[in-house]
């Protein structure tokens, strides 16, 4: 229907009309601050990141180790039994080469998001993060990677305390 229409009613505006102040408009920046309760398990996970390690949780009944940690087991709905300190190495489960930023700007060097199965967690359990120090062409599923951390004094208890995961070289475990 609309593809047959050539002239729409209304007043078309261009970006330049705003930039060159040809039209009157009000630019609003909404104050949208929020505080998201971390909960028990994620709070401990963030505290662990600040201290430079990854934390999972373990269910004895199901023999599952998950990361990020949870207080309740997803399979048996019982409380998880313990926190487990995990390695900061893992295996690329899936990845993408992303040529747009979160606010849809084109970039030449791709971002490299990947899901990484963390060593010590149950198979197929891992976290999403970025890859770095790697030729995008060489990324493959099953690639072994290791976390690159911020220096301890710059860590703030956030997933970004890990800068990215870089490939492990031959011989490293």
């Amino acid at each position: 229907m609309t593809n047959k229409q050539n002239e729409f009613p209304g007043t078309p505006l261009r970006e330049g009309d705003f930039k060159e102040n040809k039209i009157l408009y009000y630019h609003d920046v909404m104050k949208a601050d929020f505080a998201w309760d971390t909960g028990i398990a994620i709070g401990s996970y963030l505290a662990a990141l600040k201290n430079g390690y990854l934390l999972g949780s373990y269910c004895q009944t199901c023999r599952k180790t998950v990361i990020p940690p949870r207080t309740v087991c997803e399979w048996c709905f019982r409380p998880m039994d313990s926190y487990v300190r995990l390695e900061d190495t893992g295996t690329v489960n899936t990845f993408s080469l992303c040529y747009v930023t979160w606010d849809v700007k084109r970039i030449q060097e791709p971002e490299l998001p990947a899901v990484i199965e963390i060593d010590g967690a149950s198979p197929l359990h891992g976290i999403m993060h970025k890859l770095g120090e790697v030729d995008p062409e060489e990324i493959h599923m099953g690639m072994r990677v290791k976390a690159v951390w911020k220096p301890p004094e710059e860590r703030e208890g956030a997933i970004t305390d890990i800068l990215y995961f870089k490939p492990l070289k031959e011989g490293e475990s």
């Binding site: 609003d28 601050d33 929020f34 998201w36 028990i40 709070g43 963030l46 505290a47 039994d81 926190y83």
Partner: protein, 155 residues
């Protein structure tokens, strides 16, 4: 440490902020209305001949009969206080000692919500005539704030 206990050293909350921005354009009628304030220090309305109503601020169609309105009229800068309120709180919730006087000022068949200034709180009353106090032309930027406030007409 039990899994059901909060780690006292762990952060309780994740603090963040959403980058929400917007542009609200004045529109065809708003453009004309605010430009008149900015360039000429005039308040414009539009008149619907059929309904005998003069809208302030001016708009491009009649709300009652939906006719297009082209009859722009200078409605003057004097109106009367239709209703008012005293604000003892700022936008951020902090207390203010001197209240902000906000009023709806009736002009022709419409009106504007604006501040009152140079006004004695004791003598504030509904129906009192007020006139627009414009900023100096150089400081105007095509906004409702080009009118600094409305003040009582000298008697």
């Amino acid at each position: 440490m039990s899994l059901l206990e909060r780690d006292s050293l762990a952060p309780n909350a994740w603090l963040g902020n959403l980058p929400v921005t917007s542009r609200y354009t004045a529109g065809v009628a708003g453009e004309r209305f605010f430009r008149a304030i900015q360039d000429e220090g005039k308040i414009l309305g539009t008149k619907c001949e059929y309904c005998d109503i003069t809208y302030v601020p001016g708009r491009i169609f009649c709300e009652r009969c939906l006719a297009e309105l082209n009859d722009w009229q200078d409605v003057g800068t004097v109106g009367e206080v239709y209703t008012f309120t005293l604000l003892y709180e700022n936008l951020d919730g902090t207390h203010r000692d001197e209240p902000l006087v906000v009023a709806f000022i009736r002009i022709a068949d419409g009106g504007l919500i604006h501040q009152l200034g140079e006004v004695d709180l004791e003598n504030l009353s509904i129906g009192m005539p007020v006139e627009a106090a414009f900023k100096p032309q150089a400081d105007r930027e095509g906004s409702i704030k080009d009118i600094e406030y409305f003040r009582p007409l000298p008697t």
